[in-house]
Symmetry: D2
């Protein structure tokens, strides 16, 4: 198998660590650098003892500056950086000829006005934004193949978009009145020293947050609108639940008058029959995060309620894999011409 | 304070244990019997070491037969029994002159046809059903005072009804398109030996279940309909999350055209200004189960989303207290003329 | 009941919050101030929504300076401050005529050389140290009654000392070769923004720490030595486990040649027959933190192993109650002449 | 790579599932059957949705009878059966020419009298017992290579033996007064419908159990005795902690008079320099189960306490991998001549 030189920028967060775990098992990857401002100079295994003795993991965190990364000969760089920080790295790396898979939100919103509405500041790099590709392999494989900059989807959006896109494309759902509730594991909030993320603050706690206008809405509505061919606004409420990883999303949408509920399953099956990581559970089957954690799978179940005329879509994924690092590697495989599942058969 | 003789039938489940904990601290209660088929003859403290050395807790589980319970002189009996099992006890006890607070679903549904639709069998005691009172003290205090049989509300219904009832009564919400997602701790499934409730099956797991027609819908829609003055059907998806106790409910409903979002808060405040256990968090405030577990409080926050015209209501309660045993004792206090908070200032 | 004016200094940590919860239920306490540098000026219920609507809890955090505390008329002050910070407050408050119950380690070690060995600096107030009383009500009631400054025992020491002290006093155990393993919930590490205490770092993790010379050893060995009448050194390994509160301690010690194993139970029963919070589980019974969390009880079981000639002592307590705030209130009750259990019948 | 036909008998418990996950990734394994009495006839992915879409996992549970298993052409069979049930299968399979790796305790104790003392019945197959090999690859590779029947070590024993064996062999430790405390995740108790294993009974609970004479002691003392060249009895207390998988073991043993503490690290390094799955953390380093869960690694740290003259050994492993299925596959690799790490580079 050919070898692609890969850099991971911001490798010490939860997504960064997961990326390293996946890339170290990927047969076509030569990991040339893993950066971390906080741990620069330290061995990976001294910061994260989990990597001790793992083949290929005897590497040292380096500093994150662009010239140094470029000098490693990296052909592709993953950015596992906070929103707002990634854009400048993307610019520098793309200019240096390194293809970029950005796991932050910086290049996901193609309309700068929407970006500004949700992120409270002008977009930092309108030029680069124009060429960024939304990196959902199930729906944007063609663009990913030719991209220099891939904006990898967010964790909540992935769990919401995958069930909804084909149904909206098929015109089965009303575009008004879509209501989504998601529950995420605590890793979704990142690895940062914050009182509200302490064990004793999260354990034995279930809570909504970020209402009524979570930033991910911008990304979700952009892609839903593209699928439906019309502007869509939805009601979305994220929750924090005491698990390490996993997102469980429940979406309620009204079936269009005259639509046949049996089309739900058929449409999903048609859309994903060649999608290796989308597992359709069937009608009246519920998704459980426990079946997808530490994998790149997303599980999707659905149910039609004749009493309300509504469809309930239930999806589960691992937020740091299918919702972040795994999805990024999936896009990387498409970009580089590897088998889409290379490095991702984790069970 | 006067002393009321109280029996707890089915005292060894999670709700039964919680009832015992509350009643043992209640200044006006003389606990005359606690029954358990499984543990009859054993000391409470030998089955549940938590009760060891606790004043008043040196009692022995007895058998559950009605004559024996009646012979203890019990004036009020709490039934913490499975659905379907409670009805016969209620009959016998009421006939023996014992007032009954039934924590099961057996007498919550006033329309026998709805009962049969959701519980798959005819109602077992139509006579008694006629006089049963829905035991939500915030809205049915008057009836509770005069009742012989109180059907204490379910855990999910309590968390859903308390925020919605006043808003529907005030005509602020569209009655179509109400969508509810609830997440419950594992105690909600009861204390029974079932593989799916094992630690390793629930820990690190978040899952929907019971779609699309959970039995509690019958009760929820009955009370919502009564509040709105019209038939209501809603979309309701319950989830299981890895906490011992706690329900976090998120409800999305469309504001009526022309209604002022500011009326949401004002209406809730008006409705609950004298309700000791309803805590209104305010606009754009989220409820967290961690603040209500082991208390009889329900916390309610809300948010208006001008983009969708929808209101999000967020509520949190302890499913075995406010959603079961605590609410039952609250009704007991009303029934017997005690201060409504007696025995319930647990923090 | 008489009313004692009480101040809580450092009321926003896990122990401070627990103290507030207990004191608000205490019939003989008038809470005159709760201080927090971090939250000074804010309402208790705004920082900790759990306290909303709770009778007596509508108070505001104030600043911690000694003159302001003294000016509230406080007769007794609880110090729930970090080690090293408490000593100066103790000095100022005692000088101002306020009796002090210090939950930190600052005054627990009576030998200044031992303090310096374990805390790496000279003791800050040798004068005050001389009059400090070790506040374990089961063994130091007499001194507590007359004290101006009570050094409340640490969480690990409490769980280790209560089973061992009577057996050492009775000369049943070899003083050499005592080995202790304890597992503590994460609240034991305090409420501080530290990466290692994040949910994702503690959940699904069990780990030893602080080997081989945890600071609590100084306190444990001081009290064991006093009980045995000779110097004792022990092997002690603390562990962190993913629960909010609770300490489970297992102690292995060799029975003295010729001693009768049956004396273990008898000696413990004799020692604690009047101790309301010590629950003896019996021979071959194991302690479970789940039975003691949120109570002031400590559960003690034991087993004799004829193969090794060793006794295993198993104890469980809530680290922030019996191991901190609850034990402090117990000492307060003794100090002020209240019933020892006042405010502490929590189940 | 050559292909070995493998059967897994009892594939639906926690260890069985883990075996399947490992074997499906093993390049040299053709999985010919997975049996389960409970689920015979059902597809693996219908019982355990985690296996859906996984390459090679489209198999059906079959019944467990020996002739049917032999008829599949299996060359090696793993027994993931309860103690007492495995022996008869081992007999039948060995007689049918199938090599057996037994993960139960049935053939671990070479002395039938010890077996009877700890398992309360005579050993069921003394003939077969004679040829059984204790399957710890780090110490018994030679015998494993030639075995027909491998008794794979227990989970607790693995975590205790690996650190102790080399130190006892080197004569560094006193053989009297060894004290071990272990904490295990709940999967260690198996996947069985038992009230005491429910989520709400284990969550927020830490408890000792099985004192003073846990069955694993027989196996531990047998191997320690063999290493030391003399009979050894130890004090061992297992605990249950609320994690899915993971064992954290802390061992305290007295250094022999005159022995140099520095020899501890050197001896461990010498013993395990070629052991791919033993990771030595170094002096005063603590093991954390979070670093080894879902891997076949065991992490070992140690500390010398000059105050007591004792060594503390801290080890962490995943109880269902290194403590069960992974260790079994490691032995399988040795038995079949594969690279010892084949299929086991899981991180």
């Amino acid at each position: 198998m050919k070898q692609v030189k890969v850099a991971v920028i911001g490798a010490s967060g939860y997504t960064g660590q997961e990326l390293l775990r996946i890339l170290l098992r990927h047969q076509g990857v030569e990991l040339v650098c893993a950066t971390s401002r906080q741990y620069a100079g330290q061995m990976l295994e001294d910061v994260f003892p989990r990597f001790r003795h793992v083949p290929g993991a005897d590497l040292r965190f380096t500093d994150s500056d662009v010239p140094a990364v470029a000098a490693t000969g990296a052909e592709v760089a993953f950015l596992a950086l906070p929103h707002g920080v990634a854009a400048a790295y993307a610019r520098g790396l793309v200019d240096a000829g390194v293809k970029v898979i950005d796991l932050s939100a910086d290049f996901r919103i193609s309309d700068p006005a929407v970006y500004e509405e949700f992120y409270d500041k002008p977009h930092p790099d309108l030029d680069l934004l124009k060429e960024a590709v939304y990196g959902m392999p199930e729906w944007h494989g063609e663009e990913i193949r030719k991209a220099r900059l891939i904006a990898s989807p967010g964790c909540y959006p992935t769990s919401i978009l995958l069930p909804l896109i084909p149904l909206l494309k098929a015109g089965l759902l009303e575009t008004e009145g879509i209501v989504v509730c998601s529950s995420s594991g605590v890793s979704g909030a990142g690895r940062k020293a914050d009182i509200s993320l302490l064990f004793c603050e999260c354990n034995e706690s279930v809570r909504a947050y970020g209402v009524p206008k979570h930033r991910h809405l911008s990304e979700i509505e952009q892609e839903l609108g593209a699928a439906a061919g019309e502007k869509i606004v939805i009601s979305f409420t994220p929750h924090l639940v005491p698990v390490n990883t996993g997102i469980c999303t429940t979406t309620s949408a009204k079936l269009k008058p005259g639509a046949d509920p049996a089309q739900i399953g058929k449409t999903l099956e048609g859309a994903y029959k060649n999608a290796p990581f989308v597992r359709l559970l069937g009608a009246n089957k519920c998704a459980d995060t426990k079946n997808v954690t530490r994998t790149n799978f997303v599980d999707i179940g659905w149910a039609y309620d004749p009493r309300t005329g509504r469809i309930v879509l239930m999806s589960a994924e691992d937020n740091v894999i299918k919702g972040a690092g795994g999805q990024g590697v999936h896009a990387f495989n498409v970009l580089c011409g590897f088998d889409p599942t290379e490095g991702l058969w984790i069970i």
